[in-house]
Symmetry: C2
Subunit: 516 residues, 2 copies
Amino acid sequence: MNGAESLVKTLVNAGVEVCFTNPGTSEIHFVAALDRVEGMRAILGLFEGVVTGAADGYGRMAEKPAATLLHLGPGLANGGANLHNAHKANTPLVNIIGEHATYHQQYNAPLHTDIKGLAEPLSHWVDCCTSSDEIAFYGQQAVQQAMTAPGKVASLILPADVSWNENTNGPVDCPPIPRQIETVPEATIALLAQVLNEDQTTVILMTGQALSEQGLALGNQIANSCDASLCCELFSAKLARGVGRAKIERLPYFGEKVIERLASVKHLILVGCSAPVAFFAYPNAESNLVPSDCNVHTLATPEQDAIKALQDLALATHASADNIQYYAPHTPELPSGDLNMSSLATTFAALLPENAIISDEANTSGAFLFPMSQGCPKHDWLSLTGGAIGQGLPVALGAAVACPDRKVISMQADGSAMYTIQSLWTIARENLDVTVVILANRSYAILQIEFARLGAGAPGNKSKSLLDLSNPNLDFVSIAQGMGINASQASSAEEFNEQFAEAMNNHGPRLIEAIL
Amino acid sequence: MNGAESLVKTLVNAGVEVCFTNPGTSEIHFVAALDRVEGMRAILGLFEGVVTGAADGYGRMAEKPAATLLHLGPGLANGGANLHNAHKANTPLVNIIGEHATYHQQYNAPLHTDIKGLAEPLSHWVDCCTSSDEIAFYGQQAVQQAMTAPGKVASLILPADVSWNENTNGPVDCPPIPRQIETVPEATIALLAQVLNEDQTTVILMTGQALSEQGLALGNQIANSCDASLCCELFSAKLARGVGRAKIERLPYFGEKVIERLASVKHLILVGCSAPVAFFAYPNAESNLVPSDCNVHTLATPEQDAIKALQDLALATHASADNIQYYAPHTPELPSGDLNMSSLATTFAALLPENAIISDEANTSGAFLFPMSQGCPKHDWLSLTGGAIGQGLPVALGAAVACPDRKVISMQADGSAMYTIQSLWTIARENLDVTVVILANRSYAILQIEFARLGAGAPGNKSKSLLDLSNPNLDFVSIAQGMGINASQASSAEEFNEQFAEAMNNHGPRLIEAIL
C-alpha cells in the first residue's frame, strides 16, 4: 500500500466520505488511490474556488469534513478566497495540497512556491508530511483538527513522493472521529444567570451551534424569560429558520445601524462569537460597535459547548420553555407585475419547500428575502461568512452533496456569481438538486452604495464603469446552458412565479436569471 | 490631495498608464482617484485572476508595469495563480492590494487576513504603507522595483485610511522610470569566449531579453560562429519568431527528452536563466537534467544586461553576422477534412498575420502549433511561465491592451480556459482585437499522459472521471456569447479555415471553439 492509499483509507476510516478536487500531476497517486480504496466519493471542480467552496458547503451541512485535493501553491491560491470563507465560518474541512516530491523542491521548478506560507493565513492548522510511513497519522490528525470545535480548516501538504512511496505501517484503523468540544465552567453559568437576573438591557448574541433548532429554542427561552433580546450576526454559517423554529433577530449590516440597535444595551452576552465590529472602516465612523458602557460577557467561546451551556443557563435562570416564541406560518400571495427585489422575495417565500437549504449570496438584491421567508416551512440559511464573494454557488453545490434529499436554492447576485461560475458545470455533472436564481441588477450595487458612504464624492466615468456590469450585459442563461444547466430568464413577476414553481416541483439542476 | 490621488499621480508620472482592477469597498478612494487624476486607463475584470493575468500580458508586451488593484486578502488569493505566473515570467508589475484602515485591522472583521503573508510567496517585493504623506514615495519605489531587471512583481499594500487621508507632500514629480539593469563584468565575457573557442559540445541557453529579435540574432551569430547550439526554455515569457528572426531550438517538456538532448554537452552557457530542471518529479527519474560532467557557466544572470553581454561576446569570439541563420518564409496549404491538432496548426500557420501576438496555453493540443509556424511572418510568442493554468486568456487580454495595433491570438486548451473564463467579458467590453481559439479535446489530456508516466497503473472509473471534461460537454460558443463575444464552432478543417480567416481579416473580439 503506498502513502496515498494509506491516507485515503485513513480518511475514510475517520469519517471523510467525499473529496472535492481539481488535481494535477503531483496529485496523481492520490487520484489513483481514490479508485483503489473503497468509500470516498470523488467530485471534480473545474476551478479550485469551486472545490474549496463546495467543501465549505458540505462541511456546514454534514457537520464533518470533506477533503479537498488541490494542485500545489497556485491551486491553493485559486481556492484561497473560499478557504478564507470556510475559515471564518469555522467549517470542518481537510484541505489537502499536493506538493512537489521532497527531493524536487530544491530545484525551483516552474510550479514551485512556498505552499506553507500561502496556507497559513487561510487555515487554522497547517502541516506537511515528509514520510510515507507517517502520512496516515497526519491524515488522522488533520481530521481530528477539523473536528475540533467550532470546526477548523486543517491544511495538509502532501509531497508527491510521500504519495507514491510504500507505507509499511498501513492506514490508521480509527473509528469515525467525533467532534471535540470543551465544556463551559459552572462558574460562568452562575455569573451569567446573575447578569440576566439584573434589570438591565441585555442582548444575547449567538453564532455557530447555538443557531441550530435546539440552540435557538434555548436562547429564545432564556431571553424571553429574562427580558433580554436574542440576536445573531448578519452572516452566519448556518441558521435554522421557519415555522417551528424559535425567533431570533439578525443584526444589521452597516455599523451605524448596529450602534443604534445596541445603544442602550448594558450587557452583551456572547455565545460562540466575538463582539460585533464594523465590516469595513469608514472615515469618522467607529469600528467597535459596542457602547463603551456596555459589559461584554462570554457564555461560551467558539471552542466550548454552547448547547450544553444554554441548557445549564436555562436551568440556572429558571427559564420556562413556555416562553419560547416560534415563527408562525405565513405564506404570501404570489405577486404579479414588475419583477423587483420585493416581488422576487414574495415568490421565493410563497413557494419555498420544507427542508430547503438556502445559499445566500444575494447581497443588496436580497434585502427582502430574509424577512419575507421567516414564516416559511422550516429551512436552513447559509450566509457569506468571510466577505469573499464567489461563495454562494459552490456552497450550494457542497450542501447538495451533503443533503441529497433536500432542495438547495442558491440566491445569487450576478457580479458575485462570476467569481466561481464554473460551479454550474459540477452541479450539472453530479445532477444535484440545486436551483440557482441569479439576481441580475447588472452592477456591483453594494459598491455604488459604499462609494457614497465613504464620502468619495460623485463617481466620474471611470468609477461608474468599474462599478457597472453592463456593456456588455452578461447573459446567464447562455453561460449556464454552456455548462449543461437547464436555464431560463424571467423579466416579470409572472414569469418568475412560473419558473420558480417549476424548479421547486422538479428535481435537478436549474438556473433562473431574474432581471431586476 | 488625498493619499490615493497622490499615489495614482505618482504612478502616472513614473510611467504606469493602465490599471487592471476588481475593486471593493476598501479600494473606493483609489477608484475615485482614477477619475480625478489624468492619465490612467481603468479596466475592470470580473475576477482577480483576469486582473493579474492581464497585467502580466501587458507587462510582457509593454516592457513596463501595469498596476493592479485588488480587494484585500481574498482578492489577492484570487489573483494569486497568475501573479505566480508573472513572478516566474519576471514581468514588471505593480500589484496594489487594498487593506482595511490601519486602525481597523485589530478588530478581525470578516475580510481580515494576513495580506503580507499571502503576498510574499507571490511577489519579488512586498511593502505596506501606513502614512498618507508617504504613500507617493512607496508608489515610486514599487515602480522602481518592478522596473529592476529582469522585471519584478512589486506588491504594495494600501490601507483604506492611507488612501482617504490628506497627503500634504503631494505626488512624487518623477520622470518615467527606466529599466534598472546590471552590466556583466568583462572577465566573464573573456572566460566564456575561451569556453566557446574550445572544441567541445556547447549549448547556449537563453531566456528573457535575449529572446528579442536582437538577442536572438546575437545568440545565433555566436553559436553558429563557434559551433555551439542555441536553445531556449520551453516556456518563455516572450519569444520573437518568424521570418527575419534568427533560429533557436526549444528544449522539450519531458525531462527524459531534455536529458537525451543534453547528453553529450560539455559546456552549458546560461543567458538570463537557470540550468534546466524537470517540470515535475517522477519515481526513478532525475530532477536535475544537466549531465554530471557538463560545466555550467553563466554569461548573464537575470539581473544583468544580456544584450550587451551577447554583443561583447560576439566581439570577443569574432563571431560574424554572416553566420546568422534566419527562419525562411513557409506558408503551408490550407488543409481539408478532419479537424485535428495537425490540420488546426496548418490553418494557423497558413493564415497568421504579420506582427501577431500568440498567447499559448494550448497545452497538449498545441503540439504542432510551434513547429508549424516558424516560417510565418514575424510574431511574438507568449508562453505559460509558471505552470499555473488559466493564464492564456488574460495574458491575451493584457497584450491587446498594450499593443492595440496588433492581432492577438489566444490558442487555448479547454480545461485551462475555464479557470479565468471571465476574461472574455473584458475582451468584449474593451473591444480588443483578440481571437480566441478553444482547443476542445474535452479532457485534461496532459493528466491522462502523466498518469501513465507516473506509474500509477490503469486509471479506474473515478480517476477517469477526474481527468475527463465531458458529461456534460462544455459549449464554449454558448459561454462566450453569454459574455458578449462573437463565437462559432468548427468541427472540420474547412469550417476552421473559414472561421479563422474571417477572424484574421476582421478587427475585434472573436472566439472559435475547435472540436478536436
